[in-house]
Symmetry: C2
Subunit: 514 residues, 2 copies
């Protein structure tokens, strides 16, 4: 391409000017639904099966409280299982919370889960950190969790921070749960997803969140942390601890991710269609319980069926079947018009290599265009969720930006079709569109530009010493971790928390004086 | 996951048994169309604009022959441009070749371009080879082209080999064109796409292909090479040389790729919608000419609008906008029910790294699910088409397999929904599906397994010395190039060709005695 006369500096200046949020080509909550892996008939068949499972198979291991509140609204206990007649489930679906808002500590990060609006979140329970600098795996720590929260806070296309890794340098599970929530909310003002192994851990977590919110009433107005509850151990078995947490969360005004994480061929049916049906049945069972406790309590239907590599039984989060499963679950969620979360973006690779990029990209592009309201695990996860990679969050942010851009699609109208512009260029013998006013106008609204992605020519690449993507991400990570210590939680509040709870990391780790 | 009793050896044995082609989870010609970036109204608006462009703007620089045959059927010459009234275009669309077959030298590789059936091809005119072993770029050679053809012959998910690189060690353009076709057809028995800079080069290429086919009549029965013709220099200007090649190809029974390769904001409109409209207008203009020469002559509508990074004017083949553009073009093609080719899978990265994987993956997943009949440039291309990487073809084959698997989607029926299986597992307290007959049955039909993708656990990965994806691909490439010399063209035919044409590489380069 030849030199263009003028315009270049104007373009650079325009590029630098920040766009209003509603003009930016990508943002949280872009609507998906262009990708529909299921035909209308398929949806009906899956729906019928879902209700059959709930009615005829039901769940093992319901707690006393679950049995009490659910039988009160029509559930049936039979052969040690709690079963949900269709009317009971439909009633819960009728009463439940739609158009759910996940609040950020900063309101600019509020996420509106409705329709086919798409958002990306981290997520996971990695026990290891993938360290691409040394090509090594090591145990994950409290510091890692805080660090990943801070990095996520800087990533425009990761809209929420759900706990990514298990804090393995804290042995006591109560202390671990408290510090998980603490490190996450200290690191980002985006909505946080946390996890608790027992109900009383969650009660204490809530007490801490009340302090941060400035009182329980303030917390209830804008609950900025949700809890991930694996309320089932698939297939179709409730878990006592998670049901306990659900009860505490509902009563405490905390949004719940009702999480069904079966694995096809192992804990979920081997055919993809069956895995979708089971996941939806399991999540709707959770929804009945939530709404039996309190109608309209906020809950996300977390249909996360995973894929097994049936040769070995190992999970394959980066498989194409994962993309199909998650997208089909999202499509069912759009059909039900319920706030739906799923998991996509995981890689089976151990490091952010070609495979890591490919698996993250096709799974997230599919899940986003399918209209999943919240796509968890979408950044940083390797070894099929066993590890998290902090550096990867930064390059994943580019991939998620692309997925969102694809999801936005193209606006088609007389202006964008630009017949008059074309006519002027062709009939005026201008030969190209470089000088057309429209070209300058749309360069920021129609296109996105990666933060790390390399678009250099081979010559520029050589001249610049062949920059390596991952090295650029490492440098940026170091810069963030050295300099970025969010202060949305005041020192005073922090000291109050530290007086009442056992916080593992010293204040200095959060960039604060002791 | 715990140990499973038995079954493991049976699974391994089953996995090793080859599946019949119609049972394999992915294959050439799987139907897409699940991803629809354009709404029905959008399609109508684009369609209207396409006809307006053809009718009111038309093409500059038509050749005498083009003017002669096109005005004979109703085209109008005005102000030095040839314009196509709607009826003329619709007539060509009516008469043209649908359900086009691209023949392989081996019939098992025949590609049926119809409906929304999806196929992947290489393609490009790279002038450099990306060498990931030495992290270097070098000029592309005749040997590289033969090597990439051979590698492609071994890649199940790359269904056609279109010329990937320019043979830079041959200075004379006639010799280059002959050797391009020769090296490609020697390297693979899949359908080949070639390129010629002048009509008489194509005449000679055809003569060579007649020899290979065993006579002109045999060639015409199963033309196994198509020609890529950039019949326009966008916007809306015909090119004399390519129109010359079109004429020779139509008369010689060779399928033509009518290629419109504008670049948004430069040679195509800056808005995506406008770029799609211009690309379709340009390809339909070519289609009118083809059918004016001979109604029903095989042609692929090659809508390849590319993306410019408007900050620099450089092409960005790996951008998300590329995925949208190509998918929208494919959707228009499905609407017109015309055989449609587009370009996706290119990366802006210089090497097969994380970015390379990501860009290849989201662009190909979108293009495939949109139902593009032929997705060119889908493997091996880096630096936005300036380079080709032979090793990458092998790992790209995994990515394309995933895109095809996603495109196949899920079958939903009573068997795959598996209610009875679920009931048996849950009510029978079996706890998992590992022992279910269905699990073993579907492990090869419902799932695909990557050739190179790493699914090891972190422990296995460490024990195996942390295998590197790219190193595995390099080893496999070396194995193929050392041992695999296709012999579908006999020595006798080869000697006949060498008697009549100037073949650059010695017979020994093709694994044959001198």
């Amino acid at each position: 391409m030849g030199r263009r006369s003028g315009g270049r500096e104007a373009k650079i200046a325009l590029r630098r000017a920040a766009l209003a949020d509603d003009l930016r080509p990508v943002r949280a909550g872009i609507s998906g639904g262009q990708y529909r892996p299921l035909k209308d008939d398929d949806i009906e068949s899956i729906n019928d099966t879902v209700f059959k499972i709930l009615e005829q198979v039901g769940f093992a291991d319901a707690t006393e409280h679950c049995i009490e509140v659910c039988t009160a609204i029509g559930a049936i206990v039979e052969d040690g299982r709690i079963k949900f007649p269709r009317a009971v489930v439909e009633d819960a679906m009728e009463k439940c919370c739609r158009n759910l808002v996940l609040h950020g500590q900063d309101p600019k990060h509020d996420l509106h889960l409705s329709g086919s609006r798409v958002h990306f979140s981290t997520g996971g329970a990695a026990v290891m950190i993938a360290d691409p600098i040394n090509n090594e795996y090591r145990d994950s720590t409290a510091q890692d969790l805080y660090d990943m929260a801070r990095i996520t806070d800087k990533c425009d296309n990761i809209h929420m921070f759900q706990r990514t890794c298990v804090i393995r340098d804290i042995a006591d599970s109560h202390t671990m749960d408290i510090n998980t929530a603490y490190n996450a909310v200290m690191g980002t003002s985006k909505h946080v997803g946390t996890s608790c192994s027992e109900d009383h851990h969650l009660e204490d977590t809530l007490r801490m969140l009340h302090i941060i919110a400035g009182g329980e009433d303030k917390w209830r107005e804008r609950p900025f942390v949700s809890i991930s509850c694996c309320h089932v151990v698939p297939p179709m078995k409730f878990t006592e601890e998670a049901l306990g947490c659900i009860r505490v969360a509902v009563e405490g005004g905390m949004p719940i991710l009702l999480l069904s994480a079966g694995q096809s061929g192992a804990t979920a049916p081997p055919c993809l269609a069956g895995a979708v049906a089971q996941a939806w049945a399991e999540c709707l069972g959770g929804l009945v319980y939530v709404n039996a406790i309190k109608a309209g309590a906020p809950a996300i239907l977390g249909t996360w069926p995973f894929v097994s590599d049936l040769r070995t039984g190992a999970m394959s989060g980066g498989s194409p079947e994962q993309a199909i499963l998650s997208s089909a679950c999202a499509q069912m969620g759009n059909y039900y018009n319920l706030p739906t979360g799923t998991a996509c973006g995981m890689s089976d690779s151990k490091m952010p290599d070609f495979q890591g990029g490919a698996e993250r990209a096709y799974t997230t592009a599919c899940a986003a265009t399918s209209g999943a309201n919240l796509i968890y695990e979408s950044a940083g996860m390797y070894a099929s969720l066993l590890s998290a990679c902090p550096e990867s969050l930064l390059i994943d942010n580019d991939v998620l930006g692309s997925a969102l851009r694809i999801t936005r699609g193209m606006e088609v109208n007389q202006e964008t079709l630009g017949f008059e512009v074309l006519k002027d260029v062709c009939l005026g013998n201008k030969g190209h569109y470089l000088g057309a006013g429209q070209t300058l106008e749309v360069m920021q609204t129609e296109y996105i530009y990666p933060d790390f992605g390399d678009r250099l020519s081979p010559n520029e690449w050589t001249e610049q010493g062949k920059p390596v993507l991952l090295e650029k991400a490492v440098a940026r990570k170091n810069e963030i971790l050295s300099n970025y210590f969010p202060t949305h939680i005041s020192d005073e509040v922090d000291r109050q928390i530290r007086d009442q709870f056992s916080i593992h990391l010293p204040r200095s780790a959060f960039g604060r004086s002791e």
